[in-house]
Amino acid sequence: MTDLRIVERTVENHANKITARGVQVHYGDKHALKDVDVDILDKTVTAFIGPSGCGKSTFLRCLNRMNDTVATARVKGDIRIDGVDIYDRRVDPVQLRAKVGMVFQKPNPFPKSIYDNVAYGPKIHGLTRNKAEMDAVVETSLRKAALWNEVKDRLQDSGTSLSGGQQQRLCIARAVATSPEVLLMDEPCSALDPIATAQVEELIDDLRSQFSVVIVTHSMQQAARVSQRTAFFHLGHLVEYGETGNIFTNPRDPRTESYITGRIG
């Protein structure tokens, strides 16, 4: 793995955005996540890597309480965003999810127009007061997702009529439109071709200036390219977490090293 291109990393000291302590997740009898402690920084891209089934998606779904929608899932432990316990009874998961956006593995635009796809979040949360403001939100979101130039003349076309890569950027625009503080991405490029992947990766790097981005990926090259910090999961444990450069060049745990060099996976 010498071909990993480790980008220069500005090791600024950003504040902690998310702190997780002792997170355990059970699906029925299955213990999927065991005692995970992690601090995720603001305005940073954090990558979760690990063999499939090790609990990356599960942990990601804890951060916006999407596990609440899985009937068998039970989450224990303490997860705070800006110091607020998100599993507190007073926290409304609906409002939390407006603040913690999510992009899925497969592009899932709604069967509505491109405009309505992006406008949906702001509409249900009442973020705009009139049509002009909504137009502005839609435009800035599509610009942030680097999609505006391609779709500005066809905003009323169905979102499902776009290509795969465009659909995924539309989903990013949709998530960005509610002005979240954290953006969770679960293998956002696994259904995309290399060109679309490169576009989305570039986009992720841009988004870092405004959000804290957490990305699950099965490609170590991708983790190396886009992230500043990397967490390695294995069999439900968080094995190693640290600066991406260190994880890839100088892993402390033998399991991380075997995974990176391709011996487990």
């Binding site: 899925f104 709604f110 249900i124 989903c171």
Partner: protein, 458 residues
Amino acid sequence: MTVIAFVLLFSAACLGYVLNLSAARSLRAGGARLHSLGSFHGGFAALLVLVPTFLFVVLWLVFQAPVIDRMTMAALPPGTLDGLETGAVQLILAEIKSIAGGRIFGTPELWKLAAADHLTGLRALSANLMVGLTAALALVLLVIARRTVAPDFRARQGTEGIIKGLMIFCSTVAIFTTIGIIASLVFETMRFFQMVPWHEFLFGTTWEPQMPIRADQIAATGAFGWLPVFLGTLVITVVALVFAVPVGLLSAIYLNEFASPGFRRIAKPVLEILAGVPTVVYGFFAVLTIAPALRSFGEMTGLPIAPNTAMAAGLVMGVMLIPFISSFADDALSAVPRTLRDGALALGATRAETVMNVLFPAAIPGIVGGVLLAVSRAIGETMIVVMAAGLIAKMTVNPLDSVTTVTVQIVTLLIGDTSFDSPKTLAAFALGFMLFVVTLGINVLALGIVRKYREVYD
């Protein structure tokens, strides 16, 4: 004798299978490389014997009766049937047949007894002939099949070809039956329109199909305007849908999105039971429960409510349609991929918002298709309206009035002594034809909508 013929042909087929199989095996044992497996050689022989012989027996059984009848009547002493109408001739034939069957009433003429004897003889001859010919045919085919066995004979293709032919035949049976039904409907409708002008039927607003049966009878000449009847069908359908669509949709949404798995496990089978209740039972319910309830409600409030109302029939029909609509909507909602639901929830949409804004629009084509199919069921439904709606055709859209429907009128026109040459009975075919046209149109529309707007999720 028929049984013997069938036993014969099936054993011949089995024999063919065994013969060809063993012939093929011995060829292979002799060192030849066969193109097809032995079982294909056997199967080819079995099918080659079975299909033509079976067809022969069936055709013989179908055509022997009319041929024998003809021959019996032709053998009567000359001049017996002179000057008799078809009806009288039929009567004589029936009498001869019942004598031949051993049921003798009174003392029949001698020539009838002779004819009955002749008939019995012909029948025995026919049966013997059938068995003999079946055996001969099977034997010939057996020999032909046996001679095909050769190393490079493509028995597999032959067998598959015959089986494919059989499948094509089976799949066209339904199509030809449909064409036959439509043809007879169209034919009778044309006869009706020769007696009653088509514009009178299509645009007339009075429906009084009573016709004088005898020339000296005093009765109206009959009016055949189908509009009031069709209006009755429409009123009942609308009542049924106004009730069934919201209830069915909401129950589907609840079951699909909000209900606990336990509740769903109980509620779904209950809905399915509702779909399995015979409509005649719904009819009882309408007559015995809903109609009296409506009546006493009318007495309480002073509303004029007829004893038989479109409302009662429509409401009960609505109950009948609920499981239909709800299962369609449930399927359509379940077909919306989970990723869409997750996408909406992850944006911070509530459950209800997710259902209303994302799942429901995505499921609309399926739901509309289901509703339109429910409409065509409501239009064609007969038993409930026969029992609960009235018989008098009125140009009214008041659901509290008594109305009649197309199906009810078809039933009443065809009940009792009917001869198929008066406008009264032929009108039933015209109504049936219109019903067919309307429901066909709705079904085509439904399929079109479902196909056009269905989102393809991969």
